[in-house]
């Protein structure tokens, strides 16, 4: 093994040990440790919720509900899986509930009608999408709208698998663990999601 690789493995092992110690400290009732644990994961939890639900209000609800469940149940965590997997099981369950309710309500939480056409108020959060050139902005806006439609066509589970694989970079095996399904089923979800999106976005890409 190369020295860099050995260093990386050691760093991962040290981080894992440190996290185990932090969780054990939380279980003993150490409030500083709980804060460290929340701060270590809360940005990625919020990002996941925002991208899945495309509503800051819903993302806030998910954030709060998820960490409250962690707070109430951390004493039941037995290190059978990584804390990340355990936390994401909680977060994905809450997000799936939101997505399913939204499907029932047919809600378009992020879209508002304006004189310039429908505007996604989440655009104000999109860093990379912002552009000063009007033509570029228009194109971006059309692409945003089509991406929204494409994501809207996915089932909640396809949406979740795609989000976790594409945006969060998780392996399908881990995603299967989180969602209580097999790696093969997660693969099928990812495949269907990609096909559906290519069908909707085909002429723009």
């Amino acid at each position: 093994m190369l020295p860099d690789a050995v260093g990386a493995v050691s760093a991962r092992a040290a981080a894992k040990l440190d996290e185990t110690a932090v969780i054990q400290a939380v279980q003993r009732g150490d409030p500083d440790a709980f804060e460290r644990l929340v701060r270590a994961y809360d940005q990625s939890v919020l990002r996941l919720a925002m991208n899945l639900l495309r509503s800051p209000e819903d993302a806030r609800d998910v954030y709060q509900e998820a960490f409250l469940r962690v707070y109430r149940n951390i004493h039941t965590f037995r290190f059978d899986c990584s804390f990340h997997t355990w936390l994401y099981r909680i977060v994905t369950n809450i997000c799936l509930d939101h997505l399913r309710k939204r499907k029932v309500r047919r809600e378009e939480a992020a879209i508002v009608d304006t004189a310039d056409g429908p505007v996604d108020r989440m655009d104000t959060f999109e860093q990379e999408g912002a552009h000063a050139d009007p033509e570029r902005r228009l194109w971006n806006s059309q692409l945003s709208s089509r991406i929204r439609a494409a994501l809207g066509d996915l089932t909640p589970r396809e949406r979740m698998v795609f989000e976790l694989r594409h945006y969060q970079g998780l392996r399908l095996r881990a995603i299967g663990d989180m969602l209580g399904t097999s790696e093969e089923a997660a693969k099928n979800c990812l495949f269907r999601a990609t096909q559906k999106m290519r069908a909707v976005l085909g002429d723009l890409i």
């Binding site: 991208n51 993302a59 806030r60 104000t124 959060f125 971006n140 694989r165 594409h166 096909q195």
Partner: protein, 309 residues
């Protein structure tokens, strides 16, 4: 592998999720098949398009979430936890209450009952007194030494300001409790105390004195959580001329988009020419797309010119 099998495998190939032998088969095929290479390029283009529209939550939203979480945990627990000090989880929750807002010194109000421990703002309401040789009382805090005067018997006389921590409790309609809450709402060093106090006072805004404190908080408090709480208290008074003047100032100067959105909602509850002017001025300088859009919608609803200035 033939083209059909490779095309179907491309999404999983792109994400590196194929078994090693299948992956090798796809790579071999791609080297010699132009249509499948083009298909692979479309897969990459799809990924790039999706990457360019990822949403990154801003730090203000994250801060609000952390604040809400701390408050939710704080609210969840009953004050009875204090009496279960032997329970480690009770200790943990007790400690966690002050984790995000160090210095919070009061117990969660249950219903209309507020319990306050005088701490940081005690100096404002408890007069200083001179120590006359007595030992300093247990639980007291010496906030400053006024003078040190030795005498020729080997003793020294020290004059000091002493504050003493006390817990008082009472209903929100109690004059003394309200007086303390008004003082707490101006507590400079502790935003947690200000958020809770303003949150309790917001339901008492019928009193001119309370309304004055809420207006002061909306206009000058450095913490957006406090300003939002104060705005909630002013909702029922959005027709009041003084309230509207203050809200107009806030709308044009507040750095927090959430506060500006709330102010717009309050101002447009009543249509008047001043509001139109303020909204038009705001559009000319507003950076936040959502706030700008809310302004435009409000102006259209009032049949006023939107325009760009």
């Amino acid at each position: 592998m033939n083209c059909d099998a490779v095309t179907k495998a491309l999404p999983l190939y792109y994400y590196g999720e194929l078994a090693a032998e299948v992956e090798e088969g796809v790579e071999d095929h791609l080297q010699s098949c132009a249509p499948c290479q083009a298909e692979m390029e479309r897969q990459r283009a799809l990924a790039r398009a999706l990457d360019s529209h990822v949403i990154a939550p801003d730090s203000a939203l994250l801060a609000e979430c952390r604040h809400d979480l701390a408050r939710a945990i704080y609210r969840e627990e009953a004050p009875a936890v204090r009496h279960r000090a032997s329970d480690p989880w009770g200790l943990f929750r007790e400690a966690f209450r002050s984790l995000w807002h160090p210095g919070i010194r009061f117990v969660q109000p249950a219903g209309a009952l507020a319990m306050l421990a005088l701490g940081f703002f005690a100096a404002r309401v408890v007069p200083a007194f001179r120590l006359n040789g007595e030992p300093i009382s247990e639980g007291s805090i010496v906030s400053s030494i006024r003078s040190v005067q030795p005498d020729n018997t080997g003793r020294v006389q020290i004059s000091l300001d002493e504050t003493r921590r006390r817990v008082v409790s009472g209903r929100l309609d109690d004059q003394n409790i309200r007086r303390l809450l008004l003082a707490a709402a101006r507590e400079q060093d502790n935003p947690g105390v200000r958020v809770e106090s303003v949150g309790l006072l917001k339901d008492q805004a019928t009193s001119a004195e309370t309304r004055g404190v809420l207006l002061e908080a909306v206009l000058h408090d450095p913490n957006p959580g406090v300003r939002l709480k104060a705005l909630e208290g002013l909702k029922s008074f959005s027709a009041d001329a003084e309230v509207r003047r203050t809200l107009a100032q806030v709308l044009l100067k507040d750095q927090n988009a959430g506060v500006r959105i709330q102010v717009i909602d309050l101002l447009i509850a009543r249509q008047d020419p001043d509001t139109i002017g303020v909204l038009q001025t705001l559009i000319g300088k507003e950076d936040n797309g959502y706030v700008r859009m809310r302004c435009q919608n409000a102006l259209r609803a009032m049949n006023a010119t939107v325009g760009t200035f």
